[in-house]
C-alpha cells in the first residue's frame, strides 16, 4: 500500500518530465544531425547552426539589443517608482501597481492591438525598433517594479532613511546611498527576469514588428513555418543556449532575494 502511494506519483512525475524533456532533446538532436529523417546514423554536423547564423544572426543581435534597452528603461522607470510606492503604501499605490500589472493579465495580442490603433498611423514610430521596445517595456515593467517593491517592503526603509537624514543626507542622496544598495537583490532578480522575458517575448512583438525588424522568437516562428526541420531545430537550439542560463540565473537571483527578505 505504501509503495503504491509512492509509485503512482513517481510515475506521473517521470512521465511529465519525459513529456517536457523529450521534444527538447529531439530539437537539440535535430539541429545537430545531417538528416533528421535518417536519424543520428547520418552523422552530426554544425552545418544547420551555420545556416541559422547566416539567415538569422540579425534577429539574435536585435533581440539582445532590445533586451538591454528594455532593461535600461525598466530600471529607470521601475526602480524609482517602486521606491515611491514602497514609501506610500496606500490604496492609491495598490491601484497603480495593479494598473501597471495589467500587461501580465491581458493577452499580448489585445495590448498590441491597442498600441497599433493609437500609434499605427505615426509611421516613423510604427516602423522603428522603439515601437517593439515599448511593447517589451510594458510587458516586463511590472516584474521589475514588483521585484524591487517586495524587497523594499521587507526592510524598515523609513527608519533607515530617517537615520541617513539625521546624518545630513537629502532625499536624492538617500535614494542613491541607502535605497538602491539595499534594494539590490530585488533589482538583480528583476533585471534578470526582464532580460529573460524580453528575449523570449513573441505575442506583442509579432504584432508590433515590421518585416525588417525580426526578433529571435519572431525569427523562430518564421523558421517553423518556412524552413526545413533541421534549421528550425538548430535555431531553437541557439535560443535554448541563450535562454536557459538566463532562466537559471533568474531563478537563483529570485531565490536569493526571497532569502534576504526573510
Amino acid at each position: 500500500m505504501k509503495s503504491f502511494t509512492k509509485i503512482i506519483p513517481l510515475l506521473v512525475t517521470l512521465l511529465t518530465c519525459a513529456f517536457l524533456l523529450i521534444p527538447i532533446i529531439q530539437s537539440v538532436l535535430a539541429g545537430l544531425t545531417v538528416n533528421y529523417f535518417r536519424g543520428l546514423s547520418s552523422g552530426l554536423t554544425l552545418k544547420w547552426i551555420g545556416e541559422v547564423w547566416m539567415l538569422y544572426s540579425g534577429s539574435i543581435f536585435l533581440s539582445v539589443g532590445l533586451a538591454l534597452a528594455c532593461l535600461i528603461v525598466t530600471l529607470v522607470l521601475g526602480v524609482p517608482a517602486a521606491y515611491a510606492l514602497a514609501r506610500n503604501p496606500g490604496r492609491a499605490s495598490r491601484v497603480l501597481e495593479e494598473f501597471i500589472s495589467l500587461p501580465l493579465a491581458i493577452p499580448g495580442l489585445a495590448l498590441a492591438l491597442a498600441l497599433l490603433q493609437l500609434y499605427g498611423g505615426w509611421t516613423e514610430f510604427r516602423t522603428s525598433w522603439l515601437f517593439i521596445l515599448v511593447g517589451h517595456v510594458l510587458y516586463t515593467l511590472p516584474f521589475m517594479v514588483r521585484s524591487v517593491l517586495s524587497v523594499l517592503a521587507a526592510i524598515d526603509l523609513k527608519t533607515l532613511e530617517e537615520g541617513a537624514a539625521s546624518l545630513g543626507a537629502g532625499p536624492a542622496r538617500r535614494f542613491i546611498d541607502i535605497v538602491v544598495p539595499n534594494a539590490m537583490p530585488g533589482i538583480l532578480a528583476g533585471a534578470l527576469t526582464v532580460v529573460t522575458l524580453s528575449i523570449g517575448e513573441f505575442n506583442l512583438t509579432w504584432m508590433l514588428h515590421v518585416p525588417y525588424l525580426k526578433t529571435l522568437p519572431v525569427g523562430l516562428a518564421d523558421s517553423y513555418a518556412s524552413m526545413r526541420l533541421e534549421v528550425a531545430s538548430a535555431y531553437t537550439l541557439v535560443f535554448f543556449v541563450m535562454i536557459v542560463p538566463l532562466l537559471m540565473a533568474m531563478q537563483w537571483a529570485s531565490a536569493r532575494a526571497q532569502r534576504i527578505m526573510q
Partner: protein
Amino acid sequence: MIQRHFLTLCLLPLAIFTLAFLAIPLGRLVLAAGEGDAGWAIYLQILQTPRYLSTLGQTVVVSLAVTVAALAISTTAGLFLVRNRFVGRNTLLSILTLPLAFPGVVVGFMIILLGGRQGLVNQILPGHWTFAYSITGLFLGYLYFSIPRVLLTVMAAAEKIDPALEESARTLGAPPLRIVIDVLLPALAPALIAAGAIAFATAMGAFGTAFTLATDIDVLPMVIYTEFTLSANIAMASTLSVVLGLVTWALLLIARSLSGTNVAAGG
C-alpha cells in the same frame, strides 16, 4: 515638503509611460470596439454569430481541459517532489521548470516535434499519428506551457504547510491517502484555485502556441488575429480583445488575491 516632491519625481516617468502606452491605448481599444457599423451592439453580435460563439465555446472547453489536466499532473508531481528527498530530485525539478522561459511559439514547435508529420510518435508508431495541428496538439501545447507554472505555485504552497498537521493526522491513525484528501488538499485549496485560474487565463489568451499549431482551428486569439490582419475587421478584433482581456484579467485578479503570487500569462 522636499521629500514629497522627490517621491513624486520618482513616480513621474513611470506615470507618463503608463499613461501614454497603456491607459490611453486601452481606452482607444475599448472605443474602437464601438466604432464599427454595429456600434456597441457589436458585443451582441458575438453571441449572434455562430462562428464567434463556437470559437468562444471551443476556447473555453480547451482551456478548462488544460486547467484540469495541469492541476492533476502538477499537484501529483509537486506534492511528490515536496514530500520526498532523493537523488536526482533537483534534476527532475529543473526539467519541470525549464519550459518557464519558452515562448508559446517554441512550445508549439515542441508539440510539432512530438506529434507533427515528422514527429516522434509518427515515427515510432507508423500510421497516421499526426495530432500536432489538431485540437489535441493545442491541448498538449497549452499543457506543456502550464505545467511548470502550476507546479511552482503548488510546490510553494505545499512547502508552507506545517508538517505537524500531517503528523497529527498520522497519530490519529489516518492512512496516507486519507491524509492527502483530508489534510493536504484542503491546505492547498487556495493555491490550487489560483494556479487553476492562471492556467485557464493563460490558455484562453495563448497566441504563440496557437499561431504555430492552430492555423485551422478557431480559438479566440487566432480569430482576433485573422479578423485584424486578414479581414481588417478592426471593430470586431477590438471587441473580442476587450472580452478576452476582461476575462483573463478578472481571473488573474482572483488568482492573485488567493495566492499572492504573480505569474505572467502570455504564450
